[in-house]
């Protein structure tokens, strides 16, 4: 990990704050994601994990703090600049968020409509779509509608869509939630393979300990809106702190 920490982070959060009325969800959260690493942020339901990751992609505007992605502060960016930066970030939504009026092919083509020029050696939409679907093992599902897919298949298609613009950073919001243990394991392995193949930096938001064990290089525990603990899976799982231990029991 020391070698990773010498590299400049691709993503950095400093003192992130967000409240909804009297509910202070994030109270000064800090995070650094380094190139090529898989960083897992764990926390209980309602601890602000999803709010944090939505702040990162500009879906929620934070009340305070800074968000630097590739040396650009997204909190001060205009819409057009932010849209361009977003092409370098893949995002897997908790509920897959596939466009249900479009086929799998159209879902994957959608991000390419305006941003084909972002892809090096662009050889055509069809080739990219097929490659993305092959990566997730769903080449045969290309003309199906999202409603015709199982939950696990939907998650795979959503992952293919997140990868289609060849992003350097991928954010996963609860990638295994709602899936059975076998499908969840398949998704975790798929995420790991994708990271190896494309050398992406991944930020994984989860409360699934198995997911964290398999995929994480480093972990942060988010408790009461702040970084409660930080370290590798082994370090945290062997911690004597009762709050940290609570995550790894069961």
């Amino acid at each position: 990990m020391n070698s990773i920490k010498n590299i400049k982070p691709v993503l950095e959060l400093k003192n992130l704050q967000k409240s909804f009325g009297d509910n202070h969800v994030l109270k000064g959260f800090n995070l650094k994601l380094f190139e090529g690493e898989n960083l897992v942020v764990m926390g209980k339901s309602g601890s602000g994990k999803s709010v944090m990751v939505k702040c990162l992609v500009g879906l929620i505007h934070p009340d305070g703090g800074s968000i630097n992605i590739k040396n650009q502060d997204i909190t001060t960016m205009g819409h057009k600049e932010l849209d361009l930066l977003r092409t370098e970030i893949g995002f897997l939504f908790q509920g897959s968020a596939l466009y249900d009026s479009m086929t799998v092919r159209e879902n994957l083509e959608f991000p390419l409509r305006r941003h084909k020029d972002k892809i090096e050696n662009f050889q055509g939409t069809e080739i990219l779509v097929k490659e993305a679907l092959e990566n997730v093992g769903l080449a045969d599902a290309i003309d199906l509608m999202p409603a015709e897919l199982s939950g696990g298949m939907q998650r795979r298609v959503a992952l293919a869509r997140a990868l289609i613009l060849k992003p350097k950073i991928i954010m996963y919001d609860e990638p295994t939630t709602g899936l059975d243990p076998i499908t969840a394991k398949e998704i975790i392995l798929l995420m790991r393979n994708i990271q190896k193949k494309y050398h992406t930096s991944s930020l994984i938001i989860t409360h699934d300990v198995d997911c964290a064990r398999v995929i994480s290089n480093r972990m942060i525990l988010l408790v009461d809106g702040i970084n409660y603990a930080e370290g590798t899976f082994e370090e945290l799982s062997n911690s004597s702190d009762p709050q940290v231990q609570a995550f790894f029991k069961n």
């Binding site: 596939l98 466009y99 959608f110």
Partner: protein, 258 residues
């Protein structure tokens, strides 16, 4: 909270919503006038809204013409004024009844559909997914839908009016032994440019209102599946109310100038 406070707070939230809708309309004009333009999606929406409303508008228009003529006949006969039937029906349908009834039908068919569709996309994070993929969802979803309703509603109303007049001619032909040629001659004699233009302009505003309110309610939908139902329902209520307000303003303005 007593009754007066409750009324005051409801009034406040009503006007706050009107204010938000005005900002929403302002954003529509800003986004609609800047590139990139989503022509393909606009055409798809025009096709969806126009084509899928054809049958409903045709049936409504036809029955409207039939019923209006059947109901008016006895009264006109009492005064020996059956020969005025074509003029009266055509003026009433083209100037007022046709646009309002067909717009109300479209408020239910199109407005609630937009509210439910966008609401469902909002609660299942599909709108967020669009935003994250670097596409402006307002431009792709809202601008295209508002433009489609604004373009398609006048066409649907013109078609609905024509079918209503045909329904009226059919009754006159069956009951009054009036030929179609004579009936439509009287219709075109009665209708003037100053009857058709204000009605068409009014229907453009009706279309804009249907698209705007439907999109506003759906785009800012919250509270999960319950919210989707609320968005769809309240879109129809607001649109219906707004249609009558626009109609009143249009009639008032027309009365001043013509």
């Amino acid at each position: 909270m007593n009754k007066a406070d409750s009324i005051l707070s409801q009034t406040k939230s009503f006007f706050a919503e009107i204010g938000d809708m005005t900002f929403f309309a302002g954003r529509f004009f800003k986004e609609a006038s800047s590139s990139p333009f989503e022509f393909k999606e606009l055409l798809r929406q025009c096709y969806n809204m126009g084509n899928r409303s054809l049958l409903l508008v045709s049936v409504t228009g036809f029955i409207l013409g039939l019923v209006f003529t059947l109901q008016s006949r006895p009264t006109l006969m009492q005064f020996g004024a059956q020969s005025w039937m074509a003029s009266m029906v055509s003026l009433s349908i083209v100037r007022e009844i046709g646009p309002v009834i067909i717009a109300l039908i479209c408020a239910g068919r199109i407005g609630s559909g937009i509210g439910a569709e966008l609401g469902s996309m909002r609660v299942t994070e599909q709108i967020d997914a669009m935003e994250v993929s670097g596409t402006n969802p307002f431009k792709y979803l809202v601008v295209t839908r508002i433009m489609a309703t604004t373009l398609m509603l006048p066409l649907l109303i013109i078609m609905g009016d024509a079918i209503a007049l045909f329904g009226s001619a059919l009754i006159e032909n069956l009951k009054g032994d009036v030929s179609y040629l004579l009936y439509f001659n009287q219709v075109f004699e009665a209708l003037k440019f100053s009857d058709i233009v204000p009605a068409t302009i009014k229907s453009v505003f009706f279309g804009f209102a249907i698209g705007l309110v439907g999109c506003y309610k759906g785009y800012y939908c919250s509270k999960g599946t319950v919210g989707v139902g609320e968005a769809s329902n309240s879109a129809v209520v607001y649109i219906s109310m707004l249609l009558f307000v626009i109609d009143f303003i249009a009639v008032f303005v027309t009365d001043i100038f013509i």
